[in-house]
């Protein structure tokens, strides 16, 4: 059995899905980011002044891009895999000799593609509002790739457990969005009181946003080594959980 063909099939299907409905998947992040720039950048940002040695608009750009990557990687896999469960076309893969790791890699790869593509679109929109600096392109590529993989895995696990469409919106609404907003997108966590700085250390998004910001601006509230270690830990953990769930057939086989 040629696993690379199976992987390519799942990946192609996933990419075709979100590009077929591009108005729903690729346009909204561009509009949302433009609004953020108008409100937080031009209107409010000009009154805030500098943050971390950069004007406020430049400071928030990496966080806003990362926010779009996180949201889209997660929601792509969550909605696509749950739809496949709901329409029962997930059975097409389950009856075929597709190894579980190929199913996980295919869906996660699809989520990563959407997350990274949206990240690129948001970056292009950002150029219209602010001069983007590049401090270290490799850190940017590594961070966006690993972060999209992390949240795509999270979306997959969410979809495996989900029993209704409501279940795939609960985690993004009540956990992902608060963690992202409190993850240092709009502020440096060094501005927080010491206690809340400590609390922020348990938010994984802080590490992702700061590593990404380092790639653009060369500044970070956390060390890069710690940031990549945290992201790596989450990828390994979530991948293991996803593999166990699929091999046991949780939510998939009766």
């Amino acid at each position: 059995m040629n696993n690379s063909i199976a992987l390519k099939s799942i990946l192609t299907k996933e990419i075709q899905r979100f590009t077929r409905i591009w108005v729903q998947t690729l346009v909204p992040p561009a509009i949302t980011i433009s609004l953020y720039f108008v409100i937080f950048g031009s209107l409010i940002g000009s009154r805030i002044g500098e943050m971390g040695g950069f004007d406020y608009m430049s400071f928030i750009v990496p966080g806003l891009i990362m926010m779009s990557v996180i949201t889209n990687s997660y929601s792509n896999v969550a909605s696509s895999f749950f739809s496949a469960k709901w329409q029962r076309n997930v059975e097409e893969m389950l009856v075929a000799p597709v190894p579980n790791w190929v199913i996980v890699a295919g869906y996660v790869g699809g989520g990563m593609c959407r997350g990274i593509l949206v990240g690129l679109i948001v970056t292009i929109v950002s150029i219209l509002f602010v001069d983007i600096q590049l401090h270290n392109i490799w850190v940017i590529i590594a961070t966006v790739t690993l972060t999209s993989a992390t949240f795509a895995l999270g979306g997959l696990i969410n979809a495996i457990f989900a029993g209704s469409f409501d279940d795939i919106s609960i985690i993004p609404t009540f956990i992902l969005t608060p963690l992202t907003y409190l993850g240092g997108v709009f502020y440096s966590i060094s501005l927080l009181p010491e206690f809340w700085q400590g609390v922020s250390q348990i938010n994984p998004i802080v590490y992702m946003v700061n590593a990404f910001r380092y790639g653009f601006l060369g500044i970070s509230d956390v060390s890069l080594v710690t940031a990549f270690a945290v992201i790596g830990f989450f990828i390994v953990t979530l991948f293991t959980i996803a593999m166990v769930l699929i091999s046991k057939g949780i939510g998939l086989r009766s």
Binding site: M1, N2, N3, I5, A6, K8, S9, I10, T12, K13, Q16, R17, R20, S83, A84, Q87, R88, N89, E91, E92, M93, L94, V95, A96, P97, V98, P99, G249, R253, S254
Partner: protein
Amino acid sequence: MTYALEISALAKTYKGGFQALKGIDLTVKQGDFFALLGPNGAGKSTSIGVITSLVNKTAGQVKIFGFDIDTDLEKAKSYIGLVPQEFNFSQFEPLVNILVNQAGYYGVSKPVAMQRAEKYLKQLELWDKRDEPARALSGGMKRRLMIARALMHEPQMLILDEPTAGVDIELRRSMWDFLRELNEQGITIILTTHYLEEAEMLCRNIAIIDGGEIVEDTSMKKLLAQLDVETFVFDLQPNLTVAVLTEFAEKSHSIAYRVVDDHTLEVDLNKLQNLNQVFAQLSAANIDVISMRNKSNRLEALFVSLINKKSNVTQSKPQSAVVGAN
């Protein structure tokens, strides 16, 4: 001999305690056209679910062409093509994409998959719809799409769970021809259906499952030979009366006739009687026969009697237990 399917002591108990399969044993020979029949909730779809790994079994063993699903699951899966009871493809994808992706899951390269998609879509008269999303198809077309999809990796065994449900007669017959052709090419076919005429016409061997147990597992010929009595309906010349037919029926003691109306008779024949006797009696009475047909499907009659027999046994068991307790 390697069987296409070997099931031994297969049991499935769902969460909540419902025992869908109670240790069934079943074998299907390579190249067979096999019917798995049973009433709703008998365990047919659970059996197919376990064979195709959509349902986790509780106990027992399943081998597909000699490959155990516990130890060689991927190899075993590669032999099976499944046409499920319910539509289970993405409603939004074009037909060609559905087929090519499905082939890809079995490691079939895109150029080969495109050729096969064209072949099967043409054979199943769906080629004109190839670029349309699946939701645009009629019910019968969707059924044919699922058959095409199941064939994309050219499986050795095709399992069809109610493939002609909701399909009109003309289309059903063309699907039967298509399935016969596949079987003649050497593909083992396992069929579940509620149309017993379909099973009788297509299948060489049959198993009947009820309440999670196999109640009959034999060849179609042997099963039909169990039938003691068959009922035939005779359409007669139009210028008769009920009184004439009643008089004829009363005189003909050797055969049990029933007068339905002034031009229709029903006759119950057992194994020792033959139709020649009937024709001889009718001819002697100057009654002409216009046409003749079986009143009911033969397999249906047997099916009902087997299921009833089992339910009578099941019902009698608690009574025995009560008597024993007294």
